[in-house]
């Protein structure tokens, strides 16, 4: 587990400094904005649009990131669930290039323009997690100059523009976002200061690295920003998390968590010019009926909410006698409190459409060795799914599928090892059986009835490209096929053929629930037939696969 939580305690005062720093930045940008910062937020009247992009790769001179796309997914889920962004007004780009980014931005601008024409006030959120270097965002092999992005945002036909850039630096020994030490882009100078109506948050200051954490399953900055938006940042306790609250929370936690890292402390930056729009509510915890309430009488201190995968999805720094709300998505979470000499661990079920009250007295004492987050960190890197499959196999050659290897339905079981070789690579193991009845129709022999059967075992390696709940994939597979036929007439001998078959697999995995996935898949395989003659044959398989992640 990361030792971040302990640092957070030590850095409890850091948000105050961060807030002052943010205010100083804001004052430089716009004094009227500071005056309006304490006015009521306008979240309820804003038509919000969001462009969320995550890219694990940043060109050949950078090392792939592990969690940029995950961070983007989390932010997309959060903004559409709690941030007032309708799903139709949100675009999630995963591993897309700069051209796709600008196209998506144009589409949102077009929608925003239409909204403005209807007299609506509009806001545009742009979130990016990935590489940045030499003054440009690195979206895979493509680049998007930061100045160009800022100008584009400044010109966007919306009333408020908020850019959150969780971008990378390099050179540290720990997991950092980047490949080499390079001057950081400074959002607090240059074009940022000229961009009125634009708020820009970055995950790190100039010459700093932005760092990822395996224990958190994401970058420190995005994790704390998301955790803050779920409720931890709601210092006022009014059930709404504003931009300033979110930033100050993310700042404090990020600095605390990274203070002792080999890459050095990471200081998020904030450039502010809301041009009279005042503070802005980013998430409204009251919009969702479901969630978790930590009652006022629960002990004060830090609470960590851990999902079944072992990831800390939210944190809460609770004061004494203060009720706090955490807008967790429906599901089961382990809740951890860290005391000086032990842990207090409990479990809570957040039901859909209901508010759940945390019962801290039901927690149990546990030694530090039972830390649920620590266990998750050790397991992180590879995970299994197990499933059942049903499909159909048929050879391309008509004569073959009519008189030799018949078309058959297949039923089987599969196991998949995810992220073993590298992230989003899936090593699959499958076995299936199928059979059908047939009758010989050969030039000199017609009529003998038989039972045709296939046993199909294989292993595959596929690469996935998750986009939201859908993960298209393509890969290779090697199978071992055993085909046989047994004749009703004992005068004809049973026959069998076995062969190794290489092939390709492609399809898409759809996440039905947190643990259940449905995969639609096509395979194209090659088979060398060697008995009557040497023949190169091809066959296809269509299948649906339902998998469960324990």
């Amino acid at each position: 587990m990361s030792d971040g939580p302990e640092k957070q305690v030590r850095a409890r005062l850091a948000p105050v400094a961060a807030w002052a720093r943010a205010m100083a930045s804001a004052m430089r940008a716009s004094i009227p904005a500071l005056i309006l910062a304490s006015t009521a937020a306008h979240a309820d009247t804003l038509h919000r649009f969001a462009l969320i992009a995550g890219n694990d790769t940043g060109g050949s001179d950078t090392r792939p990131l592990s969690y940029a796309r995950d961070d983007a997914r989390k932010m997309h889920d959060l903004l559409t669930r709690l941030g007032g962004v309708a799903p139709a007004d949100a675009k999630l780009l995963l591993d897309d290039d700069a051209k796709d980014f600008l196209v998506a931005l144009s589409e949102l601008e077009q929608r925003a323009r239409a909204a403005q024409a209807r007299g609506e006030r509009t806001a545009l959120f742009v979130y990016y997690s990935g590489h940045a270097k030499d003054g440009a965002l690195r979206l895979g092999a493509s680049q998007l100059a930061f100045d160009a992005l800022k100008r584009r945002l400044a010109d966007a036909p919306v009333d408020i523009r908020i850019a959150i850039l969780d971008s990378c630096r390099s050179g540290a020994l720990t997991r950092t976002k980047g490949a080499r030490k390079a001057p950081a882009f400074d959002v607090e100078s240059g074009a940022a200061r000229d961009a009125r109506g634009v708020v820009i948050l970055t995950s790190s200051a100039a010459d700093e690295d932005s760092q990822e954490s395996d224990a958190l399953g994401g970058s420190y900055f995005s994790h704390h920003l998301a955790s803050g938006l779920l409720g931890d940042a709601d210092r006022s306790g009014d059930g709404r998390v504003t931009l300033f609250e979110a930033y100050s929370h993310a700042y404090a936690r990020t600095v605390a968590d990274t203070a002792d890292s080999s890459a050095g402390p990471q200081h998020p930056t904030f450039s502010y010019d809301l041009a009279g729009n005042g503070d802005l509510v980013l998430t409204d915890l009251r919009t969702s009926a479901e969630g978790l309430v930590v009652p006022g009488n629960a002990p004060a201190g830090a609470y960590y909410f851990v999902d079944p995968g072992g990831m800390v999805v939210a944190e809460l720094d609770k004061a004494a006698d203060t009720e706090r709300r955490v807008a967790l998505a429906p599901g089961t979470y382990r809740v951890k409190r860290r005391l000086s000499d032990r842990l207090r661990i409990g479990e809570v079920e957040v039901a859909r459409g209901r508010t759940t009250i945390l019962q801290e007295p039901r927690f149990k004492d546990a030694p530090f060795s039972d830390d649920p987050v620590k266990g998750a960190m050790l397991d992180k890197g590879a995970w299994w799914t197990f499933g059942l499959t049903g499909g159909f196999q048929s050879f391309f050659d008509a004569q073959t599928r009519q008189s030799l290897f018949l078309s058959v339905p297949l039923f089987g079981a599969e196991a998949e090892l995810h992220d073993y070789f590298r992230r989003d690579w899936v090593w699959g193991f499958d076995a299936a059986v199928g059979g059908t009845n047939g009758a010989l129709a050969l030039p000199t022999l017609e009529g003998p009835a038989y039972r045709y059967s296939v046993v199909n075992v294989g292993t595959s390696l596929t690469a996935e490209w998750p986009v939201g709940r859908v993960a298209p994939f393509v890969g290779v597979r090697v199978a071992y096929l055993i085909m046989g036929r047994k004749f009703d007439d004992g005068a004809f001998p049973d026959q069998r053929f076995a062969m190794v078959s290489p092939g390709l697999a492609t399809g898409a995995r759809f996440q039905l629930t947190r643990r259940l996935n449905l995969t639609a898949r096509t395979r194209l395989q090659y088979l060398q037939y060697t008995v009557d003659a040497q023949r190169s044959l091809g066959f296809w398989e269509l299948a649906a696969l339902l998998t469960y992640q324990p």
Binding site: L442, P443, Y480, A491, V531, D532, A533
Partner: protein, 321 residues
């Protein structure tokens, strides 16, 4: 786990191949089975009750209500027929369900294998296909002999008509060639060759056995069997040199026997040569092989005994127009 992933394909590669072959099935379909060639005898005949001796004199035991010696003679002929067929087909059993050793286009070869019953020899079975016609050879050669040393003990042919062993075929046992190559033909020393012609294409199916005696140029004895899917059976055979009628000459008999599955039957005997040349005798029997009807064409006073209505209907075996 990575080592396992590498080892597994290697193991599977070794376990590749098989006998999944359409052509093999077509070749195998060209070989006759026992049920294609064997005469269908009634249960009473198979139980072997009261099989008489060959060549009993006409009139000695032909009594209405008495046991039909001719029926037993016909069943005995059928049993011997089947014994001969079995002996010949047993030579093919080794190859019937075994995958061939060599597969070539329109050709399959089983062997060479050591010939256990003929020490010092090895055997092989060769099948060739030309269109829908198949020819096969069971061959032997002295162990270590070259390609030219193979000699054929059992030749056969089959012309397929598309169904399961439907077609016309021939099968032979060359005993003369076997003896020439040092084989002991045991009780078949009096024969040079046994031929089988059969057709399973149309009903009734028929099989013909031709025995060629040692030194003879034409077949000595002919047995023919026909049968229908309903279980009617027919045995036609010629018996030369039988003292069937009192007198100085030996008779040559031409016998046509037909029976039903429950053992009733009708037999027509023609004397082709001998003391009563041209005579014809007809006899019917019941399920217990007792004579129910007799007809003699030479007896003007009492040509028939019993009722013709007791004869079973075996007209399904009559030649179709």
């Amino acid at each position: 786990m990575r080592k396992l992933a590498l080892a597994l394909p290697c193991l599977l590669a070794v376990a590749c191949g098989g006998d999944f072959s359409n052509d093999d099935l077509e070749f195998q379909n060209a070989l006759p089975q026992r049920e294609d060639l064997a005469a269908k005898l009634p249960d009473s005949a198979r139980s072997g009750q009261g099989l008489g001796t060959r060549g009993q004199r006409l009139g000695a035991s032909q009594v209405l209500g008495g046991t039909s010696q001719l029926a037993l003679q016909a069943y005995q002929a059928g049993t011997q027929f089947n014994t001969s067929v079995d002996g010949l087909l047993s030579l093919l059993e080794l190859f019937r369900n075994a995958p061939p050793t060599t597969r070539e286009t329109d050709r399959r070869i089983w062997g060479p294998f050591p010939a256990d019953e003929h020490p010092g020899h090895e055997l092989r079975f060769v099948m060739n296909r030309q269109g829908d016609s198949f020819a096969y050879l069971l061959q032997y050669r002295p162990q270590g002999g070259g390609e030219g040393a193979w000699w054929t003990y059992l030749p056969g042919t089959f012309k397929a008509d598309g169904g399961i062993r439907k077609g016309t075929g021939t099968l032979a046992l060359d005993l003369k060639e076997a003896r020439k190559n040092g084989f002991d033909t045991k009780e078949a020393t009096a024969l040079d060759r046994l031929d089988i012609d059969y057709q399973t294409l149309a009903l009734p199916t028929n099989v013909e056995l031709l025995f060629t005696g040692a030194g003879a140029t034409t077949p000595l004895t002919r047995y023919a069997s026909r049968q229908t899917p309903q279980g009617l059976g027919e045995m036609a055979f010629r018996l030369p040199g039988v003292d069937f009628v009192p007198g100085g000459l030996m008779e040559t008999l031409d016998i046509l026997a037909r029976w039903t599955p429950d053992g009733r039957g009708v037999l027509v005997l023609n004397i082709l040569e001998g003391d009563a040349k041209g005579a014809q005798y007809t006899e019917c029997w019941d399920a217990r092989t007792r004579i129910t009807f007799m007809q003699r064409n030479w007896d003007f006073l009492n040509p028939t005994e019993g009722s013709r209505a007791t004869c079973p209907d075996v007209s399904a075996l009559d030649p179709q127009p």
